[in-house]
């Protein structure tokens, strides 16, 4: 796993970059190599096709695709590739319901592993990628265990602060 790019992150527009930096942070935390590309299912379908068709032989094992509105990028990557594709719905003026439905409601035979709308989903796309890679790379399992413990601790920390800030009268 060391020194290899295992995860491809693609997004439909450079305006999605801020959201998708949440994905990158998590992958870096887990020491997973990734690459980032902007490509559009609608404006550069040829690039999407080439990217998806070559992804596997270039060593990618998971693709994370973010898009908004009539979000076709995750679905088209899934159409052209046999790798697991994780879809991140970007928030829109309709709240992101359009992005979510356009990504999740895929036809039989061509799934996209959809996560939640926006930055939380971007973060979760990375965690899901780690879980998927974890079935092949045992070192990730250990890190996931630590990550989960850290999350639980983090909640507990907040709980303690809470007691300091706001304590009930009784």
């Amino acid at each position: 796993m060391q020194n290899r790019v295992l995860v491809g992150i693609v997004m439909g527009s450079d305006s999605d970059l801020e959201t998708m930096q949440e994905t990158m942070k998590i992958l870096e935390k887990f020491g997973i190599g990734y690459e980032v590309k902007i490509m559009s299912a609608h404006r550069s379908p040829q690039i999407v096709e080439e990217y998806a068709l070559s992804a596997e032989e270039r060593g990618l094992e998971v693709i994370i695709a973010a898009a908004g509105g009539a979000a076709h990028l995750p679905g088209m990557i899934a159409a052209w590739s046999k790798l697991p594709v994780i879809g991140v719905p970007i928030q829109t003026q309709l709240g992101g319901l359009d992005s979510l439905l356009s990504i999740v409601q895929m036809p039989s035979g061509v799934p996209v592993a959809t996560v939640s709308v926006g930055k939380g989903g971007a973060k979760n796309s990375a965690v899901l990628a780690v879980e998927i890679l974890g079935i092949k790379y045992p070192e990730l399992k250990k890190k996931l265990k630590l990550y989960k413990e850290e999350m639980a601790k983090d909640v507990e920390e907040k709980n303690k602060k809470l007691k300091a800030i706001k304590s009930p009268k009784i």
Copy 2:
């Protein structure tokens, strides 16, 4: 216009055929040649690409694409082609709202001319195609005029029947 296939009708699944026969009936009424194909943006993306890229040189002038759920077919046809693409959202278990949003919420630069959900939309996709072709083929303008008059007459006929069936007491 005579003896030429001007409109390509594509749909994601053979279950969409019943809906799309409404499109064919209208095109036949206007004497417009069409072809019908089943192809899937997700299951046969290569066919979609080839179809869309060759559509113009094969003489097509408008493409009507129907799909349901994460309905990518109209959008992908639009991505690969410079022809006007009309999208018909197929009804689904979510009422068709998923299909509608996946077709209409296209990104800047790659429009799909979206019509209503289901059979009414299928019919309207054909009328819209006639209107579009009408700016090039004057004979269609005349037929459209007659069609519109016929619709108005049809409403008037129903009105008359209504008077017969149900007449107010005064």
Copy 3:
């Protein structure tokens, strides 16, 4: 096509003007003559009727109509005219879902070619108009080809910048 007004842009309110300037920019880019009018299906129905009934003989070939809420303007233009009508749903306090459904869910026989909600839809209404006019005016086909290539290049440019700004560790 030179020196002629081919596209009529109408909108229900002057508050829609900012959105619809996206339409004008694209039409100017393609050298297509247009006219802009404010008219309301509800507040000035007579004007809408006269405009729609005279549009064809005044040389218009496509009408783009924008409206929000119970958005009747595109539908009423379509009712009175035989030209292809493109509808742009304006964003509202309900996100624009009301505008979208009021424009797209037209009855059989009277279609409106609906595009996405807001500024993206405004831009796309112009691109769709160009595609429609392109079946009659071959010079537009060439420009569309260049436009599509430009879009693809633009995506590629953003991609390159991305590499400079944010490069993965591996």
Copy 4:
């Protein structure tokens, strides 16, 4: 009020007739003269305009308009007339949410008095018409009082039956 047609009932399609018979039943119950017409804002806009413009001088005092989907009929009647217009959203494949939003979300200055979706709304459109006419015709106020008492009694009757059918163990 006697022997005069005070309420105009219009609907976009003969398929709306079953729903709108609920309206007629209530008006008959209150002895209010009505007329029924099928006309389409999109398919016969000229008829709609003429109907709305002449409604007042023909003695109508309230217009009830039913439509489904991109339901423009109530709004267009309201645009052409100064009479109060009651809109009945017809149920559709999207549940009727499209009809409801297309009728209720009217722009400033041109209201439609919207009632609930489907048969219940059809019935209520008549009751609302009675309430409106009641401010001019005092005899309707008395009938309304009786109607309301009857409704309350009807609920009480059901309550009694309930006791017979299903009595709690204690």
Copy 5:
């Protein structure tokens, strides 16, 4: 009609006041006397009951009720009164869809004349009240005619300004 309070305006909370000032402005424009009260279907149901039961004998002819969320005020006024009740859905964190459905989806026999969400709806509630009162007070009909002409002129004015600001190249 002179010097009499014909319209009761009630609202569930003082936070609705800003919205409902649109209603007052229109009623003042038409010279219609009104009264304004804050009362809550849930927090002061007794006041609502008393208000609704006494409204008619105090000379009110139309009641306009505004509320948000599980908006029961218009419906409860309608339950206790025989006057026509106009409901204004106040905007909420769910966009106002909750207010709209809670007001419009009334059961058979007890209608609320629902207008659009927010300030536009507030304005329209007044116009609807004028139209309703117009069937009894002929002087309002004349004012309505002028108001409608003024609206149409206003649209035309905006149209002229538009020509000055933004003129197409051709």
Copy 6:
């Protein structure tokens, strides 16, 4: 607790009876006395008021109210009473979303304890009533414990049957 009516079940219409029999079955299972009434917030508001105002002194401790559409019954019971009120949204042509929002989105100070839409919600309204009564009547706590164990066992039973019906190949 023995031989006393502790729970009042009210519903807006006799068509809700089938749904609410789920509530009765559960209360009977727990040996809790209940009474059932049909009353309408809109058609018999006086009955609702009297019922809610007298509920406490008549010994009721929890009220379960079911309604559909612009479902005001639970909210009005809550307005007139100080008892905990549980609201059951009845399914409608809009799926029950209107009932749900009309019941749950109550203003500050007047809560309705809302459960899920339809029969499942009816059942849960009874379980919630048991949990609420359980803080006063210890014998219900024991029954709840058994009920929860029974539910878990029931799931386990289904699991066993599953193994019999459908066993994986490995």
Copy 7:
């Protein structure tokens, strides 16, 4: 009831704290002891389980749980406990509809008493808790009576201010 913690307030994240302070204010007003904890159904499920399983024996009688998005905290508390659980849906980028449906649509046998979205719901969760506790602690009934009278007075106060600020012309 004196000097005892009767209500447990739990929330999924410290970002929910601002919302839930509305709950605390009301409980303090009624003199009800409470405790506040942050715990996550997803990030610290063990803590949730332990908390819910021990709640009853630690003397809690009602649990209020707030969460947003795929809001599992109220449901999981209800799964592990026999106490009545009140769920507060936190507002999200989808308006809070996701939180609401995730909390209210519980399966048969495991209810969550759901209140409205956001701060109003937080406040109402406390009032509902008071009503529930009121069936056991008679002193709360008296306070509830005063609280309800205070609310009604508060509405009346606003009404009076309204008369001062804005008085109709007649």
Copy 8:
């Protein structure tokens, strides 16, 4: 991979079994060992916890969880386990939007790989599991390639039948 149970399929109710048989069929087609269990996040949370905590050591590599309504099962499995969890939203009386949002809108750090609503989603959950397992087991990659080719061929077959059934006039 041979002779091992790699995929755990869990569902909240035996009524989900019909839907989830689509999952089993696909896994069998790919020769992947699976186990099926009914367990409820709400009715048997202890079983869910034990299942999720032991899944990894028992050799499972992917868990597919189906649930409807306030669908907590996938999320709770994800909370207790470090394996990738695929969530299948079951159709409900709200169309399945409640199930979808309850599964997909997970908080940061605890993703569920969500697929489409109903049977199509059940099928896709299996294909996604195959894609995920494919990064570890190369033989699955080959089968996936064949499966994708088969899907494309299947579309082509339908296309051919179409030509036979319905051929355009030209």
